[in-house]
Amino acid sequence: MTLPATTEDQIAAAVASAVAAREPVHVQGNGTKAGLLRPVQAARTISTAGLSGITLYAPKELIISARAGTPMPEIEATLTEAGQYMIAEPPDLSALLGATGKPQTLGGVVATNLSGPRRVARGAIRDHVMGIRAINGRAELIRSGGRVLKNVTGLDLCKLFTGSYGTLGVITEITLKVLPAAEATGTLVLPGLDAAAGIAAMSAALGSPFDVSAAAWLPAEAVAAMPALDGVSGSAALIRIEEFADSVTYRIGRLRDQFAVPGAVTLGTEASRSVWRDIRDVRPLAPHAQDAVWRVSVRPSAGAKVIDALRPLGAAGFLDWGGGLVWLAGPADAATHLRVEAAARAVGGTWTLLRAPDTLRATVRVIPDEPPALARITREVKAAMDPAGIFNPGRLYADL
């Protein structure tokens, strides 16, 4: 049963009804990310797709508010028109997860806290959620934060809701910090570097005074598949600067001199946008249509180790966030998954099984288990928000 809702009050009523019936609820927007983490079994669905529209946009205050069901393309178009952008550069995962014919919603982006290449320099979605409205498991409207850029009044429930995959409540409206888009973008392509050498270069770039806004490493097959990288052969590290045009030229030049890699190429604004959109949307893994996909977050210097550990199992991968985000595609079986877990654990990192058949998703740890003391707090906080335990049961953990 899907309950259509176009207002916050209707969402609250739908929650109250589910609580009264003691029936679990699948919380979603347009459902473009239903394939992430564990599958949800629920008698009811509450969709925020009908709760749409930008409610406030104050470019001079670097603030935009929109209802949870607002399609991301609408928000991005509005920001672009005013010369601004979403700071965390959230991905559109339809190349990975399959197109549903519907665009992803702002609520979905916030509920999953998925950030793109700019995250390494400018923060994640969770860093830019300034205010949130959500219906909790008591069918009450809960507000946290607001519409200002600095706010430490009370517990930061914006952070708690962001990335909670709809398990704590139904997010109905979000206020985000936005920034002016840079005048120009440039990318320094350093070819011929393997993953370890690529990470060394990316660490030097991210640890330079030049305010690098993204750094990724692509294997040869991914480089070959990107039209904007035509003429580059082999694997390559890519370093992005977003600034005023003169600064882009100056900074790329300084980095190029510093690294002195033979065959280095500089991409201009248009080519850069195309390449980084592909990296953001995980297009390098699109050809691996039958594989499972993992997103492993580690300290940047450990990224190459994770790829190396999985290569013998036939997994392919590329690196974002200066080496700290490892994207992997490999056989969709439990044995490979356990090797991903082990590789992430060995370097103190974390993982998310992003795409896999339902049977695999339902039987493995799609994200790491928490230590017992923290798992207890997780259960208590979940109960504090959703006492009847109706929101997206099993989405994050089998027993939650």
């Binding site: 001079k60 429930l157 952070k159 909670s164 002016p180 210097s301």
Partner: protein
């Protein structure tokens, strides 16, 4: 005195055995119970309120913190965590029946990793101490609260501290990677690490700014950044607050986000100039300090763009620094602001509301009207780019009526911030100071939701219990800020 929870009679009766129990857990010098030596812990940066604690415990390791919390949990003893005691909202105000858990002995830098751009330190390391530990390699830790020479990173996490450079670099929450925490049951838990964005609930985000009410932070892993090639400041003086506010709007709309964008009004300019002799224009009603970063050429280009914008607003003067020394001089007055105001009036309350920047001129005008109506002086020195106001309300601590007037004005100014779409506190925290104003911003059921989350971590409310939330609902309706003793 602000209302405190009633001391638990059984805890007060057991004071000696509680102190003896703590002494078993710590080295000789780690427990303070003598009245004379407890005195320095009776207050923090909000000196209007004082309370001598039951005892002070000074752990040196996470394991000792765990032992103390376990002991307090078993014995029903309340705990007030404290770093350097610089809180401006009374976040570390002790309780009569509670111990102060002082983190100042945990001051080891545990790990610095330039390749992965992170550092792990104990909670008692000062904010500037992190930057000092990495500055030889031209790295720094970005959030820079005014108290950064003294305040400790554990306290910064507790309050989610900001500072002038947060406009570009973000507040504490945006610069953390990991925490080691101890729960009230004495369990040690690692949150995050050296990587970004752990899966599961964002405990790092929830704990940051939780004012010591959820757990005790013993270690912090922060992001460190390489400094820019250079930085330079400029100063622009205007004929009114409205005009300066419009200039702020124009700067933000231009696509240039300066590293810092600070606003001072006439009383602040005069106080700072008299104190620091920074060469501030005394004929101005408002002044902006703007800082940019980059190579010298990049700085020139940005400062020229900013000067062009300021020239559109009929400035009294524009002064673009030509050297690092001149930039320091421009910042000197701003950095000395609290001391400068302290010279005019030894006692002041520093408020911390945030407003939408479009409401700046109106709020500054109403602030002066409201202050004049009760015959108090207010100086405004604040982070204009993000709308975080810091009205300094001057009063005379020897006159209880004056303090009361200042408190009422402070509360009214914060209500004004909420009324125009802002919030009660941008970076100082709620503490005890704004606790009884929480109902202005939140509905009762919203506060109840936050309380239930605190209870999830600390069911018996032993961790810093008298802060953030009104003590009890019935008191909420009656109280503005309780009158000081």
């Amino acid at each position: 005195m602000i209302r405190q929870p009633d001391p638990k009679p059984d805890v007060m009766r057991r004071r000696d055995s509680i102190v003896a129990g703590l002494r078993k857990l710590l080295p000789e010098s780690g427990v303070i119970a003598e009245p004379l030596r407890l005195k320095p812990y009776e207050t923090d940066g909000l000196t209007a309120y004082r309370q001598v604690p039951l005892a002070v415990a000074l752990p040196e390791t996470t394991e000792q913190v765990a032992a103390i919390l376990r002991f307090c949990h078993q014995n029903g003893v309340r705990i007030v965590p404290r770093g350097a005691g610089t809180s401006l909202s009374g976040g570390a105000l002790p309780l009569e029946d509670g111990i102060v858990l002082g983190m100042m002995r945990m001051k080891k830098i545990l790990d610095i990793d330039f390749a992965d751009r992170c550092a792990t330190v104990q909670a008692g390391v000062t904010n500037i101490g992190i930057t000092n530990a990495v500055s030889a390699n031209n790295f720094f830790y970005a959030p820079d609260p005014s108290s950064q020479l003294a305040c400790m990173i554990g306290g910064n996490v507790g309050m989610n501290s900001g500072g002038p450079h947060c406009l570009k670099y973000g507040v504490t929450a945006n610069n953390l990677l990991g925490l080691k925490i101890v729960t009230i049951e004495g369990e040690i838990i690692d949150i995050g690490g050296a990587h970004l964005d752990s899966a599961g609930y964002d405990w790092l985000g929830l704990l940051t700014g939780s004012e010591g009410q959820l757990a005790v932070v013993t270690e912090v892993t922060v992001r460190i950044l390489h400094g820019p090639e250079g930085a330079r400041a400029m100063l622009a003086a205007f004929k009114s607050n409205e005009i300066a506010g419009a200039a702020v709007d124009a700067i933000i709309s231009s696509g240039v986000i300066p590293v810092a964008l600070e606003f001072m009004d006439r009383p602040a300019i005069h106080a700072c100039e008299e104190f620091a002799h920074a060469g501030y224009p005394l004929d101005a009603e408002a002044m902006l300090i703007i800082e940019v970063e980059g190579s010298v050429t990049e700085q020139d280009i940005l400062l020229e763009k900013l000067s062009d914008i300021c020239r559109r607003f009929d400035p009294i003067s524009i002064r673009v620094s030509q050297s690092p020394e001149e930039s320091l001089a421009i910042w000197k007055g701003r950095k000395a602001a609290f001391g400068a105001v302290g010279r005019i009036s030894p006692d002041y309350l520093c408020m911390d509301g945030t407003i939408p920047t479009s409401r700046l001129p109106e709020v500054l005008r109403r602030t002066q009207e409201m202050a004049a109506a009760v015959n108090l002086q207010v100086a405004n020195i604040f982070h204009a780019g993000d709308g975080n106001l810091h009205p300094l309300i001057m009063y005379d601590a020897n006159d209880p009526a004056s303090l009361h007037k200042a408190e009422v004005l402070g509360a009214d100014l914060l209500k004004l911030c909420v009324e125009v779409g802002g919030c009660l506190t941008g970076e100082h925290g709620v503490g005890v100071e704004k606790r009884d104003l929480m109902h202005v911003q939140f509905e009762p059921h919203e506060l109840e939701q936050q309380r239930r989350i605190k209870s999830a971590f600390d069911p018996e409310w032993l961790l810093n219990p008298s802060k953030v939330f009104p003590l009890a609902e019935p008191a909420v309706a009656a109280a503005v800020l309780p009158q000081a003793a």
